[in-house]
């Protein structure tokens, strides 16, 4: 299964549906898609790297916590991430590296994402890979 992202519409907000072969890849693609919603051109020559550790009580919570952790880091440290490497441990914890640039080196974002929500959240194993749906609060 090749990784694929579909942007989905929601009256007040916006979401993504992601397909990927492995959970790790799915988390990486979802993160890139989330930053892509804010910045149509993601940074391609990263100057910053962050190590990220996240836990959740179940896999869907891990996905939401991962995306919200990145939103937190981006806003608190003034960064824009564009590339990710994720290692999921026991379904409910992950270690990752995220690469990006300082926000001031980018064009302004086209929209703000406040958070990844639990609304209509989905993360499932399907034949050939995994699929997820996440709705963001704008």
């Amino acid at each position: 299964m090749n990784p694929r992202v579909t942007i989905i519409e929601h009256t007040a907000d916006v979401g993504i549906e992601v397909e990927a072969e492995s959970v790790e890849e799915l988390f990486e693609v979802a993160a890139a898609a989330m930053f892509g919603l804010m910045y149509p051109r993601l940074p391609d020559a990263p100057t910053e790297e962050r190590l990220v550790r996240v836990e959740g009580e179940e896999p869907v919570e891990l996905l939401v916590n991962w995306l919200n952790e990145l939103l937190y880091l981006a806003e608190a440290e003034g960064l824009v991430f564009g590339r990710f490497e994720v290692r999921v441990v026991r379904d409910v914890a992950l270690r990752a590296r995220a690469w990006g640039v300082r926000a001031e080196d980018m064009d302004p974002p086209v929209r703000e994402i406040k958070a990844a929500t639990y609304h209509m959240l989905r993360l499932e194993k399907v034949p050939g890979g995994h699929v997820a749906r996440i709705i963001f609060d704008l």
């Binding site: 519409e9 009256t11 007040a12 919570e61 937190y72 974002p109 086209v110 959240l121 709705i135």
Partner: protein, 486 residues
């Protein structure tokens, strides 16, 4: 991706529709939607009514799960939803019933200026305000606060700002809660939320937030308008923003806490985004304290912005802000939960009222209202979308009886943001607004398209329903002249 909602709606009267309690298992009270036939048609196009029914499942909910006419599909709660839970009966508080932008709200500032006096210099005036007010995603202000300073903000809200010189002492009198909820618990706010809040005080942010110069185009209720200090032809200023990243982080933090609390207290919910805990539990009290602290940050934020506006106008007109009459009319919160007493089936109950995209609408005589407004009811500020009218309403006794003292908050989204952007180009929207004499300044044209007038329901239709239903009363119509979009 939205499907049309096909559940039952029973007409109660001209403006109210009931979702019977029998519609789905777990509903503890009926749902009631305020709408006329044409607004209802838009409402059932997606799943917002299902969310009204889901909210009716919250433990301790009393009366009905209410939806204002600007209701649209949110996450967990619908936007435009009102729900009150009885605290003594194990009633819950839900971060999803407040939303990520805690105490997103509006304030209205009057002026002694006539709109006609500024028309010839409008573009320069809008530019001067644009320079004074930091806007856009992740915008930062001139204030930098350490954790101790921030905790003062979280405890004292608008009063903190006034003490620092950002405003006039009387300003706090004209804010809901006098600009600070007394139950705020700064210690319940995480260090991450504090970090996000450290440099954003005095900033507008992005999305549907804005600052608007408006003309008072029409007065419907002379007595209330006089009490509010409004007259036809006058220039007024609206500020619409909230608690910024600090509030978003409080919501994110507590959705996790509440997810665990739901299991701990054995609460069954139809939607995880409704995660909640009894208000009278450690988790419930912590969230309420943190939410109130974030709400106070929002009041301080709008207060600092008010000061920036006064500075900018004072400099622009070369005279003191007092001489320009830049008095605060009122400041309302439209994403919040509060502890209030209400009568339900003839009994006075202490309730936790969630207003998510709904505005308090306390009627005449309510003891918490400023003396000046006590005879006419509180000012209710209903911003339109960019380029359309806004309304000033007054709270009513009927709202006290029917809606836990609540009414609508705005126009209500009709098109998804993506659909809006596809069908409306920002540059075209800007030009069409300018043809109508409305000056727009914004960080990006994409942002303008997402918030364009056609993306929203007609605010006039929304306000008319609340007026006819009697849950708020029309006082004045405002027409935009200059908009600074976040």
């Amino acid at each position: 991706m939205a499907n049309r909602w096909k559940g039952p709606l029973v007409r109660m009267d001209e403006c109210r529709w009931r979702i019977p309690e029998s519609y789905k298992p777990g509903m503890r009270v009926p749902g009631v939607i305020y709408a006329d036939e044409s607004l209802l048609e838009a409402i059932v196009r997606d799943q917002a009514p299902e969310q009204v029914a889901n909210v009716a499942c919250l433990p301790g909910i009393v009366g009905a799960s209410l939806a204002m006419p600007d209701i649209h599909w949110g996450y967990g709660f619908p936007i435009g939803g009102v729900a009150a839970t009885e605290i003594a009966a194990g009633g819950v508080i839900s971060p999803g019933g407040v939303g990520y932008d805690i105490n997103c709200g509006v304030r209205l500032i009057r002026t002694e200026l006539q709109a006609d006096e500024v028309r010839s210099r409008l573009r320069e005036l809008v530019d001067a305000l644009y320079r004074a007010v930091p806007t856009g995603v992740g915008s930062t202000g001139r204030l930098r606060l350490d954790a101790n300073g921030l905790k003062q903000v979280l405890a004292k809200g608008a009063q903190w700002a006034v003490e620092q010189g950002f405003g006039w002492p009387e300003d706090v009198e004209y804010c809901e809660e006098r600009g600070a909820m007394a139950d705020a618990d700064p210690e319940a706010v995480s260090s991450r939320a504090l970090k996000r809040g450290s440099d954003q005080l005095g900033t507008m942010g992005s999305g549907n937030h804005f600052l608007e110069l408006s003309l008072v185009e029409e007065i419907y209720d002379q007595r209330a308008a006089a009490a509010f200090g409004l007259e036809k032809g006058q220039l007024v200023i609206q500020i619409h923003t909230g608690s910024r990243g600090l509030g978003h982080q409080v919501c994110t933090d507590f959705l996790q806490v509440m997810g665990r609390a739901v299991r701990k207290y054995g609460i069954e919910l139809p939607d995880r985004q409704l995660a909640c805990a009894p208000l009278d539990s450690p988790e419930g009290r912590d969230y309420f304290g943190a939410m109130a602290a974030a709400a106070n940050y929002a009041w301080a934020n709008r207060q600092v912005l008010t000061h920036r506006v006064r500075e900018a106008l004072s400099q622009f007109f070369g005279t003191r802000a007092q001489r320009l009459g830049l008095e605060l009319i009122y400041d309302v919160a439209h994403n919040i939960a509060k502890i209030e007493e209400h009568s339900v089936n003839g009994k006075r109950l202490r309730t936790c009222v969630h207003r998510k995209g709904a505005t308090r609408s306390f009627g005449p005589g309510h003891p918490v209202l400023p003396e000046k407004y006590r005879e006419v009811g509180q000012p209710v500020l209903v911003p339109g979308d960019m380029g359309t009218n806004s309304y000033v309403l007054a709270g009513t006794q009927k709202a006290m009886a029917e809606t836990f003292g609540s009414t609508c908050h705005g126009a209500g989204r009709l098109l998804s943001r993506a659909a809006a952007k596809r069908s409306l180009r920002g540059s075209e929207v800007r030009r069409s607004l300018e043809r109508e004499g409305i000056i727009v300044r914004a960080g990006s044209d994409a942002g303008i398209a997402e918030e364009a007038p056609d993306a929203y329901k007609d605010v006039t239709a929304v306000v008319e329903v609340t007026h006819r239903a009697g849950i708020s009363r029309k006082v004045a119509k405002l027409r935009p002249m200059g908009v600074i979009k976040g």
